[in-house]
Symmetry: C2
């Protein structure tokens, strides 16, 4: 990334903390009338929006745990850090409004690198229409840390919790699953190739969708909007960050219900299928346990089925049962096996 | 701290992320009607409070940068991490309501250590009456990271910004200054003694106030309450985290004014004076540049002076002038010298 640039780089110490904050946040524009004061005081100030409740969520990303800068460009990292937080806002069926961004940096990062990171944050903030209203910038003795808090709003009767799924509700998922995890496998493989032969030029073309899903994921801002247009309020909703299986179990546990998930209904991109064959991986396992898809999983009453039927963004993948029936995968061979929570991290350890 | 306990310690890996979150957040109680949903969903949910605006602030603390676990007990650290955030809420003349707490931990921390940290967070949350509504728990490859976001509320006409100080306003500070920085110096000295002679038992009694201000600082929750009782709305306010000098400069810059600060008016605790003599330090320099005092600095119109006069929590330390007159310290010898921003970190590097 920034190491191969020839131009002279600026050490952050030259600017000092307040100079750095001014430089980084100077471009941020306030778009929402509810943002009364953004960066520049002891706290940001947010005005009431009549009849709307607020949702608040926070996520922290650490170098060496959540990202590897050897293949994650800083601009993408800034973008992704915003996305993972907004995904939680949309999972409440809410509209994102504001974020705060805290960053810890070691002195190996020159100003230009931090500006790349912030360019990614700014790009995501613009595209998803959220105001950056504050944060904290500090030094780190080791790796890079990014902590973001996202704030959104929704009417009380639209906010969708994990609890609320009822027997006979349909289980629906947006987009397709497993691609982000496979993208990581492709990047890890290329990193190993590069370590052995630094001259090797990776051909990532056959994996373009997978790599993009890993390095530049999007959050499903469109799904709460679509549901609102269709006149559908989900009975329960959660975002898929740890893998479909783990999220279904959360949703069922919180709602005190069981479910049947149909293997043949799980939406997979063609690149996921071909790459699973190449890597000798089972595509269902990848979709169930891969993680980082940032799709939305939700349940709707049967009466809402005609409203979503045939929508290319949504797949009905199962239905809710009584709690005593358990949480099951119905395989292509029509056998019923219990779902197990095996998130991204568990898979990594194998 | 926890290393010298004989009882068996529990590795965090035994519980897993969700088990850990359940264990740590199980004790947290929701007290505010505006907290509609706390920990346990994709996001927390906060209800509108009629006619109140919201303030949002965030701070991140890193091991090796902001704290040293060799003399900072984990319970105190958890407490302090909450305090530094609440201080920013009070600096807006607001009432704190909710916090989110994100933590990154390396596997050298057993469950019992993390519980200590959370006990400190819980103690502060109870005492300051804030609801812990969410957060993130993740692993770290190196040190401990704590990132907290605090949310508060205040009526629009009570919220106090850094900008707003007017010529002839009085400059007021709560409590006394410099003790936290001196407490750190005492602890650093004892750490060095301990490294040379691990049998040495430090006598911290003569420095009890200083050490407490460093290890267990309090935020001035009482000041917005007191000002409300007195019927005073400050024209500008900021909290003192980086040292009086730096904060005065922020306030004057944001308000586009100058000021005269009187050296002989700066409130000092007797322990600060005696310890400065012992360490051969100038107490005014320590008060101006020491930092971490978490007192509030604010300005009021002259007409409000009778309301605060003689209050033991408040000291009038100067007055606001025109911007062209600059920001000055009037010394005991009645000479006028320009204030320089030299925060805590700058002092540390000497």
């Amino acid at each position: 990334m920034f190491e191969d640039q020839n131009k002279e780089l600026t050490p952050i110490s030259k600017l000092g903390e307040f100079g750095l904050i001014d430089r980084l946040t100077g471009n941020f524009r306030i778009n929402h009338p509810s943002t009364i004061k953004g960066v520049g005081d002891d706290a940001a100030v947010i005005g009431n929006e009549e009849n709307l409740q607020q949702v608040v969520t926070t996520d922290m990303l650490l170098e060496g745990v959540h990202f590897d800068l050897s293949y994650m460009p800083l601009k993408h990292l800034g973008y992704k850090a915003v996305i993972v937080n907004l995904s939680d806002v949309y999972a409440m069926n809410a509209t994102a409004r504001q974020i705060t961004v805290s960053i810890a940096l070691s002195n190996r990062f020159p100003l230009e690198a931090v500006e790349e990171l912030y360019a990614g944050i700014e790009t995501a903030a613009k595209l998803y229409n959220v105001d950056v209203i504050g944060g904290d910038t500090t030094s780190s003795t080791t790796g890079l840390v990014i902590s973001i808090t996202a704030i959104g709003v929704a009417a009380e009767d639209k906010i969708t919790y994990r609890a609320g799924a009822k027997e006979n509700d349909l289980l629906v998922v947006s987009g397709d699953l497993g691609a982000a995890y496979l993208g990581l496998q492709v990047l890890e493989r290329e990193k190993k190739v590069f370590e052995v032969n630094p001259q090797a030029q990776p051909d990532l073309e056959p994996y373009s969708y997978l790599v993009e899903r890993q390095l530049k994921p999007e959050a499903r801002k469109d799904i709460p909007e679509l549901l609102s247009e269709l006149g559908v309020v989900p009975t329960a909703m959660i975002d898929i960050s740890d893998g479909l299986s783990s999220e279904i179990l959360h949703l069922c546990k919180n709602s005190k219900v069981g479910c049947n998930l149909y293997e043949d209904k799980i939406p997979l991109d063609p690149q996921v299928i071909t790459t699973c064959e190449e890597f000798n991986l089972d595509s269902t396992t990848i979709a169930l346990s891969g993680g980082e898809d940032y799709e939305l999983l939700f349940t709707i009453g049967q009466q809402d089925f005609p409203k979503i039927k045939g929508n290319p963004h949504l797949s009905v993948i199962g239905h809710i049962t009584g709690e005593s029936e358990g949480t099951n995968l119905i395989t292509r061979a029509n056998t019923k096996i219990p779902l197990i929570a095996r998130g991204w991290n568990a898979l990594q350890d194998e």
